[in-house]
Symmetry: C2
Subunit: 221 residues, 2 copies
């Protein structure tokens, strides 16, 4: 039996480990989960007892295979529920995360398989993040940040780095949704802001902050 709190910790560890290539620190977990390092230490002991993480005091943690599986399944459930909320219930992409945080913990035989089928086996969630399949596998996409796009290159928006409501709402308002195509016309030296042309010929100015949080795939034009 794995509690909801334990599941959440495993997911947090998984997400941190995805970015950094070393053992995950107590502090990093505490920051991401908005709790105290003391609480994290406490939980790490429990997760270690259950062989879900490899834990050496003061040396950080790594997920075991069992822990990785729990985390991956949780991410799968989270992202599938997000697709449901957007595609079927009509929520916008900035409204669904907190609901999915709850729905992801619902347990029951065949629920997720049926949901997956009902949604027609989506491979990406509303934010462009990949959805692990029933075996925990997903495809890797070679996406780059808009801040790394070269002048003259065109790209399709495929995801976001930051997931805040404020950012997501801003993007939606600007028409910068998943699948939108844009061409980088110019990068301003002074503040690293950019001028882009959308597929519909509109021209937009985007700040460096936006560029550093928007993923694209380069179009082989």
């Amino acid at each position: 039996m794995i509690s909801q709190a334990e599941e959440n910790y495993l997911k947090a560890i998984f997400k941190i480990a995805e970015k950094e290539n070393r053992a995950v620190s107590t502090n990093a977990i505490a920051v991401l989960m908005q709790t105290t390092p003391a609480s994290v230490s406490d939980m790490l002991r429990r997760l270690s007892d259950k062989n879900l993480i490899a834990y050496e005091k003061y040396r950080g943690v790594q997920l075991t295979e069992a822990g990785k599986q729990v985390a991956t399944e949780l991410i799968r459930r989270h992202r599938l529920w997000e697709v449901f909320l957007v595609e079927k219930l009509g929520f916008s992409w900035d409204e669904v995360h907190d609901l999915a945080e709850q729905l992801e913990h619902v347990q029951g035989p065949s629920l997720i398989e049926r949901l997956d089928a009902f949604l027609d086996y989506p491979r990406y969630d509303p934010h462009g993040d990949p959805i692990p399949d029933a075996d925990g596998l997903w495809v890797f996409r070679a996406q780059i940040l808009l801040s790394d796009l070269k002048t003259g290159q065109r790209g399709v928006i495929t995801g976001v780095q930051e997931h805040s409501s404020a950012f997501l709402q801003y993007l939606a308002q600007m028409g910068l949704t998943l699948g939108a195509v844009l061409e980088l016309l110019e990068r301003i030296d002074y503040d690293q802001s950019v001028r882009v042309r959308m597929y519909d010929t509109r021209e937009l100015m985007l700040s460096e902050k936006v560029c550093k949080n928007l993923f694209l795939m380069i179009e082989n034009a």
Copy 2:
């Protein structure tokens, strides 16, 4: 803030109060929730502190208006999720209760309103139980048990008294689903079992136990 455990207690009290017309006893709650009377006493104190129930020691409890509202909303959420699981995900009516017990606790603005709309505002759940609307209101149906039907009368199946998987599976297997029409041909004096004719002309024998757990509305033929 009302916890999941508190919500569950309020629902249990509501359901007991629906049947019996007096204050709800500690014991009745303990039996329904499969816990100890001591735990119930504990929780009743907490619910009383929050003004969700009117509680006099040794004299049983009643829901306050606030408590009734929480219970009704919880029932609404439970039954809407059951409709979703059956209508959209293809579960059978004997598989959905435990999942709905979890889904009913998911909190979030407009989730249930959107789910209700997505399901096209169903008025009954897969077991024939009425779904409260957004204002907590539902229509009362004058249904009677098959054990109270008179010989020669015809009725439409509209609900079940017992909700066990075993019973629900048995009914499905026999074709005794919601909306099925049957005519009472004969009641056997010896054991109160009955012979019925279904709309498709099949004849079935049903035990007294089945009769006491199957609700119908009489057809004005």
